[in-house]
């Protein structure tokens, strides 16, 4: 059973704008991401959703507070410890972040070649099996520029899953995809999570579709995070910005509850 959860304790992050003023991204936020479950982080553009992911990954450092992964304080870790921490994560980036100069096969094989001592034949076997599972077999010799948006996402997912991560981070995974492909990608997430058992954190604008996957929802607004134990719990919030969020993003689905309130 996966026991790798994440905890934010009074985490602060501020950016300095070009004009010298300060923009508070996270204002002493605290929340817990439950191990083995799916947490969706939603909010408007520039509210700090991707920054939260970068803080978890150690790509950015918080200005204050603590970040715990599976109970270990990972705030500001460096060098070997940071490397070890990152091997526990898999990331699917917004633009897939596939290496343009490599084929799909080489992209997916990269973490195995760099982070394991597996032989080339073992790597080939594992990569082809993953590509088969994600319906990319036959495209292994193509370059990222020759793939559709959905195929790129699947190749990115295949690469992220190679080292059997304990935690998967998805940064806007369905941006630029049509509704059919979006649905297909969500099915893939659910399927791979069932197989690998990872803790999933999904940053997305795709509300309410992505809520079908969510066990827990976090909404970021002006540096404040509101945590809801389930997507349904959002509708009962009395906070004006959450009610506005529900109205604009979830429209008809929860409209009736809002009227009742």
């Amino acid at each position: 059973m996966n026991t790798t959860g994440i905890e934010f304790k009074d985490v602060e992050k501020t950016f300095l704008r070009e004009d010298g003023s300060r923009q508070v991204i996270l204002d002493r936020v605290s929340f817990t991401i439950t191990a083995g479950k799916t947490t969706v982080i939603a909010g408007g553009s520039g509210q700090g959703k991707s920054v939260t992911l970068k803080l978890i990954l150690g790509l950015m450092r918080p200005d204050g507070g603590k970040i715990l992964v599976a109970g270990d304080d990972v705030t500001g870790v460096r060098g070997k410890k940071l490397k070890e921490l990152r091997t526990r994560f898999g990331v699917l980036f917004q633009g897939s972040a596939l290496f343009d100069s490599m084929t799909v096969f080489d992209n997916v094989a990269l973490p195995l070649r760099e982070r394991t001592t597996k032989s080339e034949s073992e790597i080939k076997k594992q990569v082809l099996a993953s590509l088969d599972q994600l319906e990319l077999l036959g495209h292994e010799n193509k370059y990222p520029a020759q793939l559709s948006g959905g195929m790129k996402k699947r190749a990115g997912l295949a690469r992220a899953l190679q080292l059997q991560p304990e935690i998967m981070l998805f940064d806007e995974p369905t941006t630029g995809l049509d509704p059919v492909m979006t649905q297909e990608i969500y099915h893939l997430f659910a399927r791979t999570q069932e197989q690998v058992g990872y803790t999933a954190i999904i940053v997305s604008h795709d509300i309410p579709k992505v809520f079908n996957l969510a066990d827990q929802v976090i909404i970021i607004n002006n540096g404040i995070m509101d945590v809801f134990p389930s997507p349904e719990a959002i509708q009962w919030s009395r906070k004006p910005h959450i009610r506005e969020f529900v109205k604009t993003t979830m429209g008809e689905i929860y409209q009736s509850h809002l009227v009742e309130q």
Binding site: L57, K83, F89, F93, Q94, G95, A97, F99, D100, E114
Partner: protein, 265 residues
Amino acid sequence: MLVQQNFISRLGSTGLSSVVDLGRMGLYLVQMGLGCFRMPFHFSEFMRQMNFIGVGSLVVIFFTAASTGMVLGLQGYYSLHKYGAEGMLGSAVALTLIMELGPVLTALMVAGRAGSAMCAELGIMRISEQIDALDCMAVDPFRYLISPKLLAAIISVPLLTAFFDVIGIAGGYIAGVHLMGVNPGSYFEGMQSSVTNHDILLGTVKSFVFAVLIVWICSGRGYFVHVIKGAGFGARSVSKVTTQAVVLTSISVLIFDYLLTAILI
């Protein structure tokens, strides 16, 4: 009063960001050097860069060297002819090329051709999150991407400089001997008697330092495209930073050329 305050605050902000930028680039240079000794060595990237920086620059270096050598041959002949010293032509052409023009022009050509590409490649990799992806896979981007470029440049730039010198001397020979009628024996004799090992060493040290400068500045600007103040965002930031990198490298090469000449001559 308000205008003065704004000016002072902008000056302070620019000064601070320049210090931050310098510190960042200094640490980058150290990381780049250390990356060369981290294992496993990314041999295929090293060979790709040797081909790109070295083999790919041969044509442009050939034409630059040939025209520079021929111009030196002609100019040198007319200057020396006034004093009846045409016999010194080989010596003048060789010393100018080996100590100054060879290393400097080779570095400027490589910076314009390979340095700009290096900067743009890393800049695009940065804004498309490919470098973040390497970090997230716990793959050191210095060992994997940048240090092979440094090693390839350290090897190929001095070799390209030697190639430049040979072609330039041949160009000077064609202009001086075949076109202007200087005695071929005296062209080579003058060269042999005046060029010392120290001159060749000076040219080699220069080309080595220039190679480090090219990779350091060009790859560094691309790597940090997302945090460079005033660079903007997206494709425009990459094009702006690439231009900036080539200009900065060219100026640095010229400044270091003077410094190295003053120290080593």
